[in-house]
Symmetry: C2
Subunit: 138 residues, 2 copies
DNA sequence: AGAATTAGTCAAGCTGCTTGACCAAATAGT
DNA sequence: ACTATTTGGTCAAGCAGCTTGACTAATTCT
């Protein structure tokens, strides 16, 4: 229960921080999309797999993010069917704001632990966590 | 990120365990309703506040749980407007199954820590967690 | 007693997701 | 090389879970 509540607090903190930085019209779910698109970008299909939703839903979300100026559709360099989704500068700024908000939310918590405790906790969480499956989806 | 992933793993574990115990037609969100109803029960309004949804949505969820045999509507002992939602024996069995599944999911994790580490972790999570706000909702 | 509040439901509507059908590009099978 | 299958993406329709809005009945306030 504590674990779930803490996760909720983190999400709320990130969401509030992003909103406070002036990025509007974003739901927490978008953060998981940003995480996948950040860097080299991804296709709609890859995004769908990452979010564990259908291609249609992922495409729809991409439309929304494009329309809001966070994402850009580019032709795929090697596959003429596919289109590469890439973060715009605004999208990247938003991910930086989200990272900062997460860091800020966790700061008082991290400070209350010794580095050794923190490392142990991190390792313990890593053991329980299923890699990739980040979004709670319920 | 690890925190979110671990929370997801826990929810998945509980959901799978409950399903494996033969309780069908339940979504993880129902677990949070059960947690509130367990014990003395609650009114629709109290359930709505706990889940942070509207009374209408809570009432609808209650209908669904009644229809599936997990919850019962009783007249409220002191307020003739209100109706008390109470878990049926099947509903209580389900919460026990959920508790067991949670315990089982966390077992390998708890075993890898010393009791002192576990206590420290619990305290740290409690400091970050916002009381009551359990459901991530995104 | 009358006014305002509170518990709950009915109805309609929206949003984010799903399934199903389809086209165009790429890959595999001979 | 040329068909056959697979793969990336979109269009369309539908569904589930939630919302806002309007209302009734019981309760509480003054």
């Amino acid at each position: 229960m504590l674990l779930l509540s803490a996760a909720r607090a983190l999400v709320d903190g990130i969401d509030a921080g992003v909103r406070a930085s002036g990025f509007t019209g974003l739901r927490p779910a978008h953060g998981y999309a940003f995480a996948r698109l950040s860097g080299a970008g991804a296709t709609v299909t890859e995004l769908a797999e990452h979010l564990e939703i259908t291609k249609q839903a992922a495409s729809q979300m991409a439309d929304e993010l494009v329309q809001k100026g966070y994402v850009e559709r580019r032709p795929h360099p090697t596959d003429a069917r596919a289109r590469l989704l890439v973060l715009t500068p605004q999208g990247e700024a938003c991910t930086r704001a989200a990272d900062a908000a997460a860091e800020q939310t966790l700061r008082p918590w991290a400070e209350s632990l010794t580095p050794a405790e923190l490392a142990g906790l991190r390792a313990a969480l890593a053991r329980l966590a299923t890699p990739g499956r980040i979004r709670p989806t319920w």
